[in-house]
């Protein structure tokens, strides 16, 4: 019964759980945890987790920002537009944290910032494709130039993180009542315009977008997994463990894809493999950091080694794909 008692070892959700928890009986650590998790799961199921997701989006933007800042430093910021994701990720952090405290900010600032970041990701994808084309040999040398050129799917992966913020902006805050939480203003507007709110909006607000999120999980896993594939290939798979994200990728993509058809897969395989991906990302992060320290110069060349060693945040971005999968498994399915 994963759906009822998911054990999610993830900081963001724990944090939200702890915030939401109101002790009725003498709390034991285990009870705090289990009840917190149940509360979190219920909130997710019902779409009442705007503050939590805003916070996650905001905090994860710090990682995404650090990643893109160091990657673009490697490219020397030779075009001004390379600053845009760095600036936007900073804005996303502010908007996300703000959105955790203010529903208004979540519905406005976070929504538009996320949208801009998402668009930036898509535009960046175009630039990265162009960047590969402009390397000697261009797309006639796909292997060499994808590996040595701008990371092709990184901007889209960056966009997926922004997508979280966008979703958060349409959710309901945690304290909303379970049933019909729509504001008076919205109801008045719908009444005046004689138009019901669009279905996707209702579904988002009610946490009924499992298939949608599964699709996003599939896509982002592909983006992240492809990066793992070529950058591990670049180092000739020196360590056997470098195969794990490459193997995990089709599995998780398969589970996410199947979840769009099958509610059962969404309850079983999807969370299982997603948790594994998160674990894999966590372990990967550790190994990448170790790799950074093991580079020539080690700690004495730390800034250089962080930028040019194994990318510290890449495994965490893979873990984030697992997080999307877990989130998807907790959602309700769209009404057909």
């Amino acid at each position: 019964m994963l759906r009822r008692k998911p054990l999610l070892p993830i900081l963001g959700l724990l944090l939200v759980g702890a915030l939401l928890y109101r002790p009725r009986r003498r709390p034991t650590a285990r009870r705090v945890f289990v009840e917190g998790m149940e509360a979190v799961a219920a909130h997710i199921r019902e779409g009442r987790f705007q503050r939590g997701l805003s916070l996650v989006a905001g905090l994860s933007s710090i990682l995404a920002g650090a990643d893109v800042a160091s990657e673009h430093y490697r490219g020397s910021y030779n075009q001004k537009i390379m600053w845009s994701p760095v600036v936007l990720s900073g804005a996303m952090t502010v908007a996300g944290v703000w959105g955790a405290f203010s529903t208004w900010a979540a519905r406005t600032v976070l929504r538009w910032t996320s949208l801009a970041t998402l668009i930036d990701g898509v535009v960046g994808f175009g630039f990265h494709i162009r960047g590969i084309a402009r390397k000697p040999g261009g797309w006639r040398l796909p292997v060499a130039n994808i590996i040595m050129g701008p990371p092709i799917f990184a901007p889209l992966l960056f966009g997926v993180a922004a997508y979280l913020g966008l979703v958060a902006s349409y959710l309901r805050p945690e304290e909303s009542p379970v049933i019909d939480p729509r504001t008076k203003a919205a109801r008045l507007r719908d009444f005046l315009l004689r138009r019901p709110p669009p279905a996707w909006r209702v579904e988002l607000r009610e946490g009924r977008f499992q298939k949608h999120l599964a699709a996003v999980t599939m896509l982002s896993t592909f983006f992240s997994g492809f990066e793992a594939l070529y950058s591990h290939y670049k180092t000739n798979f020196k360590y056997k463990a470098q195969w794990t994200p490459v193997i995990m990728t089709p599995l998780l993509m398969g589970a996410a894809g199947a979840s769009m058809k099958s509610a059962r897969v969404a309850r079983t395989w999807l969370p299982g493999l997603s948790l594994l991906a998160m674990l894999n990302g966590g372990v990967g992060f550790f190994y990448h950091m170790r790799g950074v320290l093991r580079r020539p110069g080690g700690l004495k060349q730390l800034p250089y080694n962080l930028i040019y060693g194994p990318p510290a945040f890449a495994p965490l971005l893979f873990a984030a794909c697992g997080f999307y999968g877990v989130l998807a498994s907790l959602m309700r399915r769209e009404t057909d």
Partner: protein, 252 residues
């Protein structure tokens, strides 16, 4: 030419290694197989080198015979099957024929073409003085020893000629010409595991000596000098740190 087994490098047991199409530790590695990835200008230059070495025009036929024999000693290729031996003489000849310099002439040296001719006279004279035979008639080992004395800067004879031809400078120039021809050849690149031309495609495994997907892993095997060869190992000039500056300042 056929290889004399006594002139072949040997394995761990001292048995001669059979000549191969490709010596070295990178079996099956072929830079030429990658030529589709090279730019057209480079491919033209390299293929020209492989398929159409220049004709010998500077040296006369008898001179060419002697210099060819010298080359076989100073840059031996007995470990290569005959059809995969790398031509060296044509490239030296071409430079001298065109009158190209490496960018300088030592003040105490004659021009390069003249220097080569003096050298050819010197080796013949040295052979006559020591063995009463022309250089080409010397047994392999004796010729090796004769050239060793030139390498050492203490030629064993023909002192009148060496007065006009500073021996160290000439050795540097001649050996430079030889390696310039040998290690310019794709077969030599395959032998030593060098990747060859690298544009528009270059490398992505820059660190740790890792091979590109199209390069080969190194496979070491026992390889030792032919027994009795004199052009073998030399004392490393500065294995530790307090030896004086190397005397070979002429080869900056």
């Amino acid at each position: 030419m056929e290889s004399d087994p006594a002139r072949l490098p040997v394995d761990a047991e001292g048995k001669p290694l059979v000549p191969r199409p490709q010596p070295g530790y990178y079996p099956k590695f072929s830079t030429l197989s990658q030529q589709a990835f090279w730019d057209a200008a480079t491919r033209t230059v390299v293929l020209q080198r492989v398929t159409a070495p220049p004709p010998v025009r500077f040296f006369t036929a008898p001179e060419a015979e002697i210099i060819q024999r010298v080359i076989e000693h100073v840059l031996p290729q007995d470990d290569r099957v005959p059809e995969r031996q790398i031509p060296i003489l044509p490239f030296i000849d071409e430079r001298l024929f065109a009158g190209r310099t490496p960018g300088y002439r030592f003040e105490d040296m004659p021009p390069d073409g003249e220097a080569y001719r003096l050298f050819l006279r010197a080796v013949d004279l040295m052979a006559l003085e020591a063995h009463g035979a022309q250089f080409l008639r010397l047994p392999w080992h004796e010729a090796d020893v004769l050239l060793q004395s030139v390498h050492d800067g203490k030629p064993s004879g023909a002192q009148d000629i060496w007065k006009k031809l500073p021996v160290k400078h000439f050795w540097t120039i001649m050996m430079g010409d030889c390696v310039e021809a040998y290690y310019a050849h794709p077969w030599a690149w395959d032998e030593i595991g060098f990747g060859g031309p690298a544009y528009p495609r270059a490398y992505f495994r820059l660190e740790g000596g890792a091979p590109e997907p199209w390069e080969s892993h190194e496979r070491h095997y026992a390889w030792d000098l032919p027994p009795g060869c004199v052009s073998g190992e030399h004392e490393a000039e500065a294995a530790h740190t307090d030896t004086p500056t190397h005397g070979e300042t002429g080869s900056h």
